[in-house]
Each structure stands twice: as C-alpha cells, then as structure tokens.
Amino acid sequence: MTSTADETAGMGSAPVEAGTVAAPDDTAGLRGLLRVVVRNRLAAVAVVVLALFVVVAVLGERLAPYGRNEVSSEDKLQAPSLDHLFGTDQLGRDVFSRVLIGAEPSLRVGLVAVSIALVGGVVFGLVAGFYRGWIDDLIMRVMDVLFAFPAILLAIAILAIRGRGSTNAMIAIGIVYTPIFARVTRASVLSVREEVFVRAARSIGAGDLRIMARHVLPNVAAPVIVQTSVSLAFAILSEAALSFIGLGTQPPEPSWGRMLADGRGFIQDAWWIAVFPGLAIFAVVFSFNVLGDALRDALDPRQRSAIESASAGQ
C-alpha cells in the first residue's frame, strides 16, 4: 500500500500521490462479485443457464413454437421429433412449448417466495440479534416452531388454510423459508454487533436504526446472499412439489411440477412427458446450488483474498 510511504514522510510534507490513491477495487460492488464468481467455470455455466431460464421466463409464450394449451388430437403421445422437440403429451400438447412457458410460473413463485422469506427473515434476524433479550427470545422461538415442521408439511398446512393456487403457494413457501433467513442473519448479527466499528458509529451519535441499516446489514450480507441463492433452488423445488400434489399452480396452466405429475402415468410409454420438465427443474435447481457455492467461496474473506492475489498475478 502506498500509504505506508505517506506515513513515514510525515504529516506536514506528505507527498501527493493522486494516481495511486483509491485505485478502483475490482472486487467491490456487485459487478466485482460477479467477476469473482465466474472465475469458477462451473459457476459461470450456472450463471449462463440461469440467465437463459430468465430470458425464457420473460419471453415464454413468444419463444414457444406452439400455444400453451394448443391441443392436437392427431399428435397425441408423439416421441420427440423435429416437429415436437420434446414430444407431445396425452392431449397432443407440445411438451417443449409447455416447458418453456412453465419456466415463468416456476421462477416467479421461487423468486417471490424467497423475497418474502428474505425480507421477513432478515428483518426478524436483524432485530433479534441486535437487541437480544426478550425480543430475541420471542422472535427466535416463533422461528423455531416454524422450523420444527417439515417444510412441505407446513406449506401444505398453510395451503389447506388459505386454499390452493400459485399466490398462496408463494406465501406458503415464503413463510416456510423465513426461519432459515432469520437464523442466518441473526448468527452474523451477533458477531457484527460486537465489532468496534459499531461502537465507533454509536460514539459519533448514530441511532439504532442507522446502525442496523448502515453498519450491521452490509456486514451480514454475504451469508444472506448465499442463502438466497440456495433457497431459490429449494423454493423452486417446493413449488414443483406443491404443484405435483395439486396445491400449487393449477391446471391447465403449465408448471413443471404439474407436468411431472401428469406425465407420471405415462412414464412407461411416453417418458418424455415427465423427463423434460424434470430436467428443467434439475437444471435450474442445480444451477442455483452451484451459484450459491460459488458465492459462498467468493464472499468468504479468506478465500476471496486468495482469489484476488491469484488473479493479481495474471
């Protein structure tokens, strides 16, 4: 660091070194983070796959060669061909088109559900870890109760109360994943709140809200980001599971979980009906998991500095 030289030069005569001061940090900010992540080849592939699915989810219908519920009775249960890349189902619907169109509800449910869990969990975890005491006990015991139920069972129970449908599925999955975020956040907050810089912020007159939002939250972001990526995978899986048992996205809307359920009965004769949506689920979930792992590595300060110095040598 050039500033060491500044120090020995003394305060009065410190030389001006405009060129070397505050060099742009290639790992600062989200762009820098992405750069570190994609140095990992597998993670780079995962990012591309996810980007592809997002494009498909956004464009959906426009990319699909056939309509979402376009039935063609002559083309029932056709094996994959050039006309029907992933074959057709028992009603003659094009499986490829439905997989493409099904990306949107799957990703949307996953995204909204994880957003609910993220916001709720981070707020609860932050407040619990920062204030400790009875408020911590209260919040975390409620979280423990939620956490004690098997995830799918709790989601089914919530859907049983609120009724089936994709909106309620989002809420249910969101509630189910809230305790994980609360725990991850609280654990990090517990260590950050003891940091000297928190006391220093207090000593300059910052209040609780400012300290939580500005000093603690950015310092707990790393594990929360990792958890978000991994939870997206599980939320999409949960959506598929709920749709599979008929509680999530409702027919005739295409949904990967729903298509798996429908194709299940024909697996002996027409494997493609179930396999292709299954592969789509696998690809998205696997990609989010790989991305989560890569983020974990990238955000771990020890590993990160190793990556930085390795890349600095190039």
Binding site: S3, E7, M11, A22, V196, A200, A201
Partner: protein, 349 residues
C-alpha cells in the same frame, strides 16, 4: 495549552463515578468512585494497566457500556447536563458534537464495507443536517486537516486501502467531524508502531491547539503521557491512586504503584541493558469481582505496613501543588517520613 488550574471551568467534570458489571461470578467492581475533570484546551491523561477501569470510566459516561449488565452511578457534568442521567436519545446528541471518540484499533474501528467518505459524513448527517455535497466538502477539509494526502480521492477508498496510521487519522477526522468540545482518545496510539504513534500524538496536539478542545487521553503508555498531558490521573483497580501535573508526577511520584510503573519503563542506553534489569511490580492486578479489602494495591505494595492498608481504602489527599494543579495521592504510605511504618501517622487530611 497552558496548564490551567483545574478549578477553572471544567468542560467535563466526573464526580464519584462507579461502574459495576454483573457477571456470572458476581458483580465486577470495575470503577470505584472516580472523580476528574478536564478544561477547554487541557489534556488529561488517564493512565493504568489493562483492567484498571480507565476505558470503562470514560465509555460509561457516553452510555457506550451496555446497561445492563453494567450499572453506572455518580455524575458527569457536561454542558450543564448530567450525562449519567441522560436518556439514550439525549446522549446521542452529545456523542459527536459534544464528545468525540477515537478508539484503540484503527483496523477494527472502521466499517470494512463502507467507504471512508460515507463513514466521515455520518456524524454530519446525524447532527448537523448537512446534505451530501456539503458533508463531502467538509469531509475533504477534515481529511486534509488530519494530514491525509489527496483527500478527495480518499473519500472513495475503503478502509482496507489504507494503512493503520492512515486509518487512525480517518478515525480522528470522524471524531472531529462535529466539532467536539471534548476529544477522548481511548488507547488511540496503542495499536500503532512507534513512529506513527509519534505522528498521531503530534497531530492531536496540533489539532487541540487549533480547535481548543479538551482532550482526555486514555493510555497505559507513560511515554506518550509525558509528551502530551497537562495533568495525569493514575488508575489502579478502578480508583485514581495518584493525580498530578505531568511534570510533578514524573519528578516526584508519591504512590508506590506510580513509582513501580515509572521504574518499569526501560531506559534507552542504561547500563547493563539486560532484560533482568527491568523492574517489575510483582503480582497481578486484583480480580474486580474479588477486590481485596482495604487499599486495592496493598497485596502488591512494596511499602505496605500501615495497619490501615489491609482494611481501609486510602482517600486521595493533597500532598502539594504545581502551577496551581494539586498533587493528590491515595496511599497511607508517606515517603517523606522514614521507612519505619510505625512512624507513619494519620496521613489523611
């Protein structure tokens, strides 16, 4: 920085401050009835070893020692208010514009994920209601004031871009950002190497002359104290055991603990220079949960012998004055009497 008589308008006056911290083993008597004051333009050094309560005695004034587990009693008069009795919201207004703090370790006292600029402008946003542009301009001035080159570029730097000395300068700039009346430096040079220490000490001295602040310097480093302080308070086991003008303290330390501390300073070029020549005070500071009865220093005291040592706490009594600053000491031992403890008579005023 003229040595002022302490009776002249102290800006911060602490009276009979006591801090207890509840622990699993029982209450820890961390600070036990400490009184001191500091005036504008004056530097008070609070000296003591780790665990002597010197930091807690200052942090507790600002509500920076969590209560509970701590209980704080006594008064701390600042700007016509008693800081100990102030509610949190009112204390927040004192932290920064009233009393600014610089902490020990510049490596951990800056937030690693925020830029220097954002941390510098925080106090101004909270207290002075500056908008972003104005706060940034002031931040540049402050960085310039504390001797950081290219201050405008540094605003965008993250703490890990800066060396320890630079970070401590940033911390000082943050503490100064709201024009504090009192600057508290809590071991502000301890984590720095010696040349940087000297620069930081010099910097704070310059700033004090320029801005007329009162400075409370908490340290265990008697070498630092000699260079900067007007008055020194030596703490041991949560009490002030000796208090004097800095020259008087070095010239004629009265308390056996102070003498021990001064004797344990290595002397450059001293004859021999072997490690064994360094004087040490035998024993360890007392456990604040189980303070010894009587004078807290008596189990380690080389001159104990007075009958009261083991069951009475010696009061701070005046033993003289230098330039209007009283010299006070809390010991039953009277160095002017002969070494025969039997001849020591009632030393209390």
């Amino acid at each position: 920085m003229a040595p002022s008589d302490q009776s002249v308008d102290p800006v911060l006056a602490v009276e009979d401050l006591t801090v207890r911290i509840a622990t699993r083993r029982g209450p820890a008597h961390v600070v036990n009835g400490v009184s001191w004051s500091v005036g504008a333009g004056e530097t008070l050094a609070v000296v003591g070893e780790s665990g002597s309560g010197k930091s807690v005695s200052v942090l507790s004034l600002l509500g920076l020692v969590p209560r509970p587990p701590a209980t704080v009693t006594g008064t701390a008069t600042f700007d016509g208010q008693d800081l100990i009795a102030l509610p949190e919201e009112a204390l927040q207004k004192v932290r920064g514009p009233g009393i600014g703090m610089v902490f020990q370790d510049p490596m951990t006292s800056l937030n690693p994920v925020l830029t220097v600029g954002r941390q510098l402008t925080e106090g101004m946003e909270v207290h002075l209601g500056y908008d972003r542009g104005r706060a940034q301009e002031r931040a540049v001035e402050l960085l310039d004031l504390v001797g950081i080159p290219s201050p405008r570029e540094r605003l965008r730097a993250y703490p890990h871009h800066l060396s320890g000395g630079m970070r401590q300068r940033v911390m000082i700039a943050i503490a100064l950002s709201c024009d504090p009346t009192v600057l508290v430096a809590d071991e502000a040079t301890t984590a720095l190497d010696v040349t940087i220490q000297a620069q930081i000490v010099e910097l704070i001295g310059d700033l004090q002359r320029e801005l007329g602040m009162a400075v409370v310097w908490i340290t265990h480093d008697l070498g630092v104290v000699a260079g900067i302080a007007d008055r020194v308070a030596v703490m041991y086991a949560g009490r002030i055991v000796e208090e004097a003008a800095v020259d008087a303290l070095y010239a004629s330390p009265q308390h056996p603990y102070t003498r021990g501390l001064l004797a344990s300073l290595p002397v450059l070029g001293a004859a021999g220079g072997r490690r064994s020549d360094l004087a040490v005070i035998p024993g360890l500071p007392p456990d604040p949960v189980h303070l010894p009865p009587g004078c807290p220093f008596h189990p380690r005291c080389p001159v104990r012998g007075d009958a009261r040592c083991a069951d009475q706490v010696p009061p701070l009594r005046p033993v003289g004055a230098t330039a209007g600053i009283p010299h006070r000491v809390a010991t039953f031992y009277d160095p002017d009497a002969t070494a025969d403890p039997a001849r020591i008579e009632d030393g209390s005023p």
